[in-house]
Amino acid sequence: MRYRFMPHTGDAKFQAFGESLEEAFSNAALALVSLMWDWKKVQKKRKISVKIEGKDLPQLLVNFLEEVLFLFESRSFLLNAVEGMQIKQRDEGNRLTTDLRGDDYSSKYPTFGEVKAVTYHDLKIEKRQHYFIQVVVDV
């Protein structure tokens, strides 16, 4: 399982999983966009490479997911896959690099809900048997 949604009164809460931190982050991005479009149906026509920084892991995750939202709203980019992610954790801050693949927004891809923002509320990044992430987004 890549991700699952949990009940939450006002907003949307999801959990994402991965063998590695990178995989869990990647799955969190897919969970996020699944609230807006069916990522499985989006073709891989465009590639966008991103570099994200964050003072700690929660901020790195929020900044990364915010980037995906931003690319949709202002670059009309629909995500299909997150590839080759690398996360470097250092004392002076964390850095993430990755390729995002997908296509331009068009009427052939139906969109539904809207995500306004990614929040820190109830946010969790834990290493259990595997990596576990929990995020609440404002919808």
Binding site: P7, D11, W37, G113, K116, D138
Partner: protein
């Protein structure tokens, strides 16, 4: 948690531990159990722990769990000792409502409702990823952020009278676009004049009941079955980005303060970052005022095209539901300026307040409370009592009860359309899934919410509006 009943509509969380003031929860016994099932009360307690909070933390009748502050949370902070918090305003800065009256009667427009809805649906982009019909440059966006609805009117969309009947006259002063990030601007440029999705909607309504005919008349609402139009939307990506930007900046500046929820991050009201946020927030507030102004203009145009004219389609009022403002309130027996945060709450000023447009000053401001999709909405009037017990605030909607996920499982968009049709409500939408998420069954009963506001006296009933046509974003 210790929760004491004060009266039938007020519950107190007494001051304990880190709380600087008590918290007051304004619900009746029907609404209280909903709040006890989620984190609303804990979040009310968290509000009461913030620096410089005045009097008490207040929770409105429609409250539900949010992040940081609960939705329906109201708190005011001292300007010297207190804080300003983006999480206390919300991501959708100046999400709000505008109400237009018409001089049409239900029987005049009934045969044309589908056509009008269709016209509005074509004219006003709704749903996810849609771009606005008014293309603006980066320079024009800055003007929109500084002048709000005023800029829209100056450019020929609407009349000055609209501004006179809008909170802050459609323009919060002191907005500096240089405090917005490049990203916020980029998200704002294509979205002006769009409705968005989620709980945002455009609704044609009829007057179902009038409770106070004198006040209703003052507001321009005079008879049963009179048609009104309600617009509910916010500051779109520009506001969302601004909230996220300042949460990040405040986090980066904070010295590992132990907050019970990272979303409570804040800056002193009087600090460079506090100032910058307040100014950027005003840009988003003005953007949202402009957005609703533009949509209101298009609504009139559609009525004009289909019904022949749009005369008498005056604005009743436009209100903010998510905002921070410096206002004068009584604290410890003297009037002073405080920074009021309303997150999912409507300002509810009573007669005499200078902030209210002159035309309404003798009766109190109109308070517009939208219902959920397909249910009644209400017009209330602001009260002096609200100023005394909730920093001049009351509810802002019906309040969610059920998660969107559960609603999607339980309801089907197409079936809802059919049910609504049977009740005489036409529906147009950009997304069936979205319709299921916003099913009225996923919300609390708005009747209980407004009943509580009325009985407590923080917003008195004026009129009940019943939908006849809905566009859901």
């Amino acid at each position: 948690m210790d929760l004491r009943k004060v009266n039938d509509y007020t519950w107190e969380i007494p001051r304990t531990g880190d709380m600087k003031v008590p918290a007051y929860i304004y619900v009746n016994s029907q609404l209280l159990p909903h709040l006890q099932q989620d984190k609303t009360l804990q979040q009310a307690r968290n509000m009461a722990c913030l620096k410089g909070i005045q009097r008490a933390a207040y929770v409105m009748p429609d409250a539900h769990q949010g992040y940081g502050f609960p939705i329906g949370g109201v708190a005011a902070f001292d300007l010297d000792e207190g804080i300003i918090s983006p999480g206390g305003v919300g991501y959708d800065i100046n999400c709000g409502v505008r109400l237009l009256k018409t001089e049409y009667h239900l029987k005049d427009i009934q045969p044309q409702i589908k056509k009008i809805l269709n016209g509005m649906f074509q004219k006003i982009p709704s749903g996810v990823g849609k771009k606005g019909a008014l293309q603006i440059s980066g320079k024009e966006l800055e003007e929109v952020c500084v002048k709000g609805a005023e800029w829209i009117v100056e450019n020929g969309y609407g009349v000055r009278e609209d501004l006179l009947r809008t909170e802050e006259y459609g323009r919060m002063k002191g907005a500096e676009p240089r405090q917005l990030s490049k990203r916020a601007r980029e998200r704002g440029i294509p979205q002006l004049g769009t409705l968005g999705a989620g709980n945002h909607f455009l609704e044609i309504q009829k007057v179902g009941e009038i409770y106070d005919s004198h006040v209703a008349e003052t507001y321009g609402i005079h008879s049963k079955d009179q048609i009104l139009v309600m617009i509910h939307c916010g500051s779109r990506g520009l506001g969302h980005q601004t909230a996220s930007d300042y949460i990040r900046m405040m986090e980066n500046l904070s010295k590992d303060e132990q907050l019970p929820d990272r979303e409570l991050i804040n800056a002193p009201v009087r600090s460079t970052l506090g100032d910058k946020y307040y100014s950027a927030m005003k840009c988003a507030v003005n953007y949202a005022f402009a957005n609703r102004q533009l949509i209101a203009h298009w609504v009139r145009q559609v009525f004009k095209n289909i019904m022949g004219h749009s005369e008498g389609m005056n604005q009743v009022y436009g209100v903010c539901h998510n905002v921070a403002k410096i206002e004068k309130h009584e604290v410890n027996g003297r009037m002073k300026n405080v920074c009021v945060h309303r997150k999912g709450a409507t300002r509810s000023f009573g007669p005499g307040r200078v902030e209210i447009p002159e035309v309404y000053r003798s009766v109190g401001q109109p308070v517009i409370i939208p219902g959920s999709m397909g249910t009644a909405s209400y017009v209330l009037m602001g009260t002096t009592k609200a100023e005394k017990i909730s920093f001049g605030s009351t509810a802002h909607g019906s309040g969610r009860l059920m998660s969107r996920k559960k609603a999607k499982r339980q309801f089907r968009g197409e079936a809802i359309k059919k049910d609504l049709k049977a009740q005489g409500v036409e529906l147009q939408t950009a997304s069936w899934k979205g319709v299921a998420e916003e099913a009225s069954g996923a919300y609390k009963n708005i009747e209980e919410v407004v009943k509580t506001s009325h009985a407590l006296g923080i917003g008195k009933l004026v009129a009940r509006l019943i939908p006849v046509g809905v566009i859901k974003g």
